[in-house]
């Protein structure tokens, strides 16, 4: 009697638990470790994806976000910050996850379309209203008396893109003369009064604390600053030539497998490429990959000549070693 009662209870329990499992899968939480200027993008996108996932899979998904300088964030993930996905400022920082601790496979960048970068951006100039220092093109940022605000390339992805944009411009303007490019970038950093550790820190230095004449910023960050502080305060100047910044995304395999979140993490990143994901990217001032979404937001993204890191610098690994590693070119040219 006792045994059968117990059996009945157990059977009922199993039935209920499988039934609830079918009706509503366990809620899941994802940690997205991202770089500085994506706060607003992922706030929008997380809400949209949670809705989409609930509608298609019936599962509740909540998100935790961490933001900071791209290199610093990669370091935190390597040191054990358990990110299910990373959405960082540049590919090298995710390469670092492959190199240290094998958190992602070496070929991570081939797993999603467009080198795992669902949206792109570039480096533009944010200047004060009326452009009092007449900053129109790259040569203007090395003029004496022009204060340039840019974060530290050692810790910030945006800063590395800005450095490479300046270097790439100088390289192309001087017939690929690396010496002249270095002289140009050296002159530019002579005009930098303060190096913040992340892109957002530089934006507040420029916009809130009113330091400097021009901010070398992610295009999306420049638009956002204009939106936050008012279009009557700042102007965006798009130089004729700049770098195609490709901020990549990846599932952190080791963590996602440990958490059992691989499927939802994967879907989370894939949905960035969907019409809705692309639209959210455009709305948050990232250049969408999808031609239709790109067309919709064409007005806010002036056409300019864009070069890639692969074209001019032979890929991120080489570029990082030459320019940003300890003792690299940046250390030689920037002496505070």
């Amino acid at each position: 009697m006792k045994t059968s009662l117990r059996f009945c209870l157990l059977a009922a329990l199993v039935a209920v638990s499988t039934w609830t499992a079918h009706a509503a899968p366990q809620p899941v939480t994802l940690l997205n470790v991202s770089y500085d200027p994506t706060r607003e993008l992922y706030q929008d996108y997380n809400a949209a994806f949670a809705k989409h996932w609930k509608a298609t899979q019936g599962q509740d998904v909540t998100f935790n976000q961490s933001h900071g300088g791209s290199g610093k964030q990669a370091r935190a993930v390597i040191d054990g910050l358990e990110a299910d996905v990373v959405t960082l400022g540049l590919a090298y920082d995710i390469d670092a996850l492959a190199e240290h601790g094998g958190l992602v496979p070496k070929d991570w960048q081939k797993r999603l379309p467009d080198n795992s970068t669902p949206y792109t951006s570039t480096i533009v100039f944010l200047v004060r209203k009326g452009n009092p220092k007449k900053i129109k093109d790259w040569p203007d940022v090395v003029r004496p008396g022009v204060q340039v605000i840019v974060p530290n390339p050692k810790t910030s992805g945006g800063a590395r893109w800005a450095y490479l944009a300046a270097w790439g411009y100088a390289l192309q303007a001087n017939g690929n003369d690396a010496g002249k490019a270095q002289a140009f970038v050296t002159a530019m950093y002579k005009n930098v009064p303060v190096l913040d550790s992340g892109a957002r820190g530089s934006t507040t230095t420029f916009a809130q604390r009113n330091i400097g004449d021009v901010l070398l910023a992610w295009e999306n960050e420049a638009h956002l600053a204009q939106k936050e502080f008012g279009a009557d305060k700042f102007e965006i100047v798009t130089p004729p030539v700049s770098v195609l910044a490709e901020p990549p995304v990846s599932v952190v395999d080791k963590v996602a497998d440990k958490h059992g979140t691989r499927a939802v993490a994967q879907a989370y990143l894939e949905y960035l490429y969907s019409p809705e994901g692309q639209d959210i990217a455009g709305r948050n001032f990232y250049r969408p990959r999808n031609p239709k979404a790109a067309e919709k937001y064409a007005a806010q993204f002036p056409a300019l000549k864009l070069f890639t890191v692969d074209e001019l610098f032979g890929g991120w690994a080489k570029c990082q070693k030459t320019h940003f590693d300890d003792g690299g070119v940046f250390d030689q040219i920037y002496k505070p």
């Binding site: 940690l31 500085d36 706060r39 935790n64 976000q65 961490s66 933001h67 900071g68 935190a76 390597i78 040191d79 054990g80 910050l81 358990e82 240290h100 601790g101 957002r200 820190g201 507040t204 809130q208 936050e228 502080f229």
Partner: protein, 293 residues
Amino acid sequence: MASTVTFRLAKPRATAPADAADLEPAWIRRVLVSVTLGFLVLFLFLPLAAVFVEALRKGVSVYLATFLQSDTLAAIRLTLLTAAIAVPLNVVFGVAAAWAIAKFEFPGKSVLTTLIDLPFAVSPVVSGLIYVLLFGAQGWFGPWLSEHHVKIIFAVPGIVLATIFVTFPFVARELIPLMQAQGSDEEQAAIMLGASGWQTFRRVTLPNVKWGLLYGVILCNARAMGEFGAVSVVSGHVRGMTNTVPLQVEILYNEYNFVGAFATASLLALLALATLGIKSFIEWRTQRDTAAA
């Protein structure tokens, strides 16, 4: 002004050295006082006032709304939790260390005294990094911890550890000079009269140092709640989970939510003011107790 004058006149002229200052020309006194006051206004009152002005820029309702935000609430909870763990542990440690150092002679005593000061000498960033090097995924214990699903870094335990580390000198530092000055005569007398060690500690040592202890505790608490550098290194900055109040201030500021940032900062400013208030109260009580003794 009038009261100062009467005070001076009422004072007996016998205490000549104390009155030497009065013999200085008045302009020197005025210059000194105005320099000090100017300095205080410029570097203390203005920034403090600025925090509250900025926090209340958009009105009281916006100010209060900041504290209803779930991320800010979570940060406040985490800060309170961290202090609630770190402060009692440091009280136990501080009293034990101070007692050992002030009342006993043992080899290595000077080394121990120096070690207690270590967190004061080390930059907070390094204090945080120590724990990353120990418990981080690439650190000494990282692989073992990860195998056993124990999270220390980028979770609450790491934040508590880093806070304990940076705040542990406070209580001991307050107590050691006090206990040394008091010597161990009273304890020896108590033991001669047949008190046990615990009785001696509870009835003799503790009452003698209670104000110093309380002072150490509030300083320790203020630092535990306000620590930025070390906690920033081990936090991971996950919103609503591993951000303490100081980190939340930075995040809100970086999100262009300046009112929110200053409103949250005003909590820390209030904490500082309360700390100062309690500190002067304790100083007043200590003076009264010494005068009575």
